[in-house]
């Protein structure tokens, strides 16, 4: 059974990215399956047969049917038609890694109209209550029917400013017990805990200092669990020196406690919005949307396949989050820097007029990997693997995971990504591939690449140089 993931949203940026991620996961769960109509019929049939002949049902069906029945018998509000409820049940089944059903827990606060919506397996932490409040509100207003549990949020009435040390040491100590208690409670609600996903910014106040502290505390408390960090790298232009220090202090802490540290540059998110999505003046919401899409490309359900479609070890097995991600991309404990790439990326209005073909997508993703960019636009096609690049960057890759989604994902040829010249000779099986027939973001074919490669290094090198110069 694929594990459930508890997401811990840290600070303003971490809360916004986390919120966007849940919204994306909920949206895709509702929209992605080509067989969603079949499933509605299936669940309906079960509900009907449950009410007819309860004794004859196998236990597992009975359990699922009973939940559906409960939903039908006790609709929270009349605006929810039985069809919508059944639909939500079937999509909940597909996203249970990230949402728990909202109908089970009899908490006093769950009597609102949204109490049956899937509830994010999330803990929200910030020093300022307004950030948490706006995440809760955003979820309540989402058209994709999910919510946060307000009891899983932790806010204090003061900012940690830009002082990493204050967030880490002073506030860290104050917050520790309460934060760990919320995380433990959320973890105990998982049938099978697959790990923790932490979202935060590397440079800012709360997400950086307090976030690093919380990451360490979670590692202390849950020694064997997989921890994956999603970190936003600050804009390099116009940044204050304190941001340099904060970034390096956070990064150093996370590299010590996390299984994988995914670094996502604000600069590149911004350029993806302008270039690929044609948004003239991207807001943080737009940029977080790109980050959430890349992350969801990894985290939505998928099934392992071989590098060659014919097969290989573990083929046909559902990907176990987050264990399989850590095993596939972060097998070396000294090298845990991850990068994300997603192709294609385009405005929703263009999707209907676009033809999607696997060879082109895979070629572009490979060239993005080679040239160390996360952007499709302005790709340098002159760079070859194994060459010296003629002064240009040639990125090498320790390991990579390719997530293929859409029509033909099962047997698309990913040979271009398994080119041995992309990887050092000593890595045993550097590329893992998984697939799902469900479309992602409305694309007939799409590819997300999670790589443990050198492309996270240049910004870190620049940051170090600046920190030493001052």
């Amino acid at each position: 059974m694929p594990g459930s993931v508890v997401t811990v949203q840290l600070g303003q940026c971490g809360n916004q990215v986390g919120c966007e991620l849940f919204d994306t996961l909920a949206r895709e769960a509702a929209a992605s399956s080509p067989s969603v109509r079949d499933e509605i019929h299936e669940v309906r049939a079960r509900v009907v047969s449950l009410s007819l002949s309860r004794e004859k049902m196998p236990t597992s069906l009975l359990a699922r049917g009973r939940r559906a029945l409960l939903l039908r018998v006790h609709p929270p509000r009349s605006r929810n038609s039985p069809l919508a409820l059944v639909l939500s049940l079937s999509s909940t089944a597909r996203t249970q890694a990230f949402f728990r059903s909202g109908d089970g827990a009899a908490r006093p606060s769950s009597s609102s109209s949204s109490s049956s919506s899937p509830t994010a397996r999330a803990v929200l932490i910030d020093m300022e209550p307004k950030v948490i409040a706006s995440s809760l509100k955003r979820a309540r207003r989402s058209s994709h029917r999910w919510r946060y549990d307000a009891n899983s949020a932790l806010a204090f009435q003061s900012g940690s400013g830009n002082n990493w040390a204050r967030g880490y040491n002073t506030y860290g100590g104050l917050v520790r017990d309460e934060a760990l208690e919320l995380v433990r409670r959320e973890a105990e609600r998982c049938d099978h805990l697959g790990g923790f996903l932490l979202t935060q910014s590397l440079a800012g106040g709360t997400g950086a200092g307090l976030g690093a502290f919380v990451a360490e505390a979670i590692r202390d408390e849950h020694r064997g669990a997989t921890i994956l960090n999603h970190c936003v790298w600050p804009y390099e232009s116009g940044e204050v020196i304190v941001q340099c220090y904060n970034t390096l202090l956070t990064l150093s802490t996370l590299l010590n406690v996390s299984d994988g540290v995914c670094v996502v540059q604000n600069e590149q998110l911004h350029r993806a919005c302008v270039g690929a999505l044609k948004i003239k003046r991207p807001t943080f919401d737009d940029m977080n949307g790109v980050a959430a899409t890349q992350l969801a490309g990894v985290l939505l359900p998928s099934v392992a396949r071989g590098v060659t479609p014919a097969g290989g070890a573990g083929c046909g097995r559902k990907l176990m989050l987050l264990h399989d991600v850590s095993r596939g991309a972060c097998s070396d404990p000294t090298m845990r820097l991850l990068s994300l790439r997603s192709v294609p990326m385009m405005p929703q209005t263009s999707v209907d007029f676009t033809t999607f073909a696997w060879p082109g997508l895979i070629k572009r993703a490979r060239q993005m990997l080679l040239t160390g960019t996360t952007l499709e636009e302005g790709l340098d096609w002159g760079v070859e693997p194994g060459g010296d690049g003629g002064g240009r960057v040639v990125t090498r890759c320790l390991a990579a995971m390719a997530f293929l989604r859409g029509k033909g994902a099962e047997d698309a040829d990913v040979g271009a990504l398994s080119d041995p010249r992309l990887f050092p000779t000593w890595t045993p099986s550097p590329l893992s591939v998984s697939h799902s027939g469900a479309r992602f973001c409305g694309y007939d074919a799409s590819l997300t690449l999670l790589s443990n490669c050198q492309s996270a290094c240049p910004p870190i090198g620049r940051m170090l140089a600046r920190a030493y110069q001052v």
Binding site: N163, L248, L251, S252, L255, L337, R396, Q454, G461, L464
Partner: protein, 38 residues
């Protein structure tokens, strides 16, 4: 680093001194070196 005394003072007030900075920078440098050697 040495010239940033004013800033470092703010960190030191909350228990992150030069030793912690050196350790953090050193760890990040080690990781970069591992990637560059690949």
């Amino acid at each position: 680093m040495k010239h940033a005394g004013a800033y470092l003072h703010q960190y030191a007030e909350h228990g992150v001194g030069e030793g912690e900075f050196d350790e953090a920078f050193g760890r990040v440098e080690d990781v970069l070196a591992a990637y560059r050697a690949m």
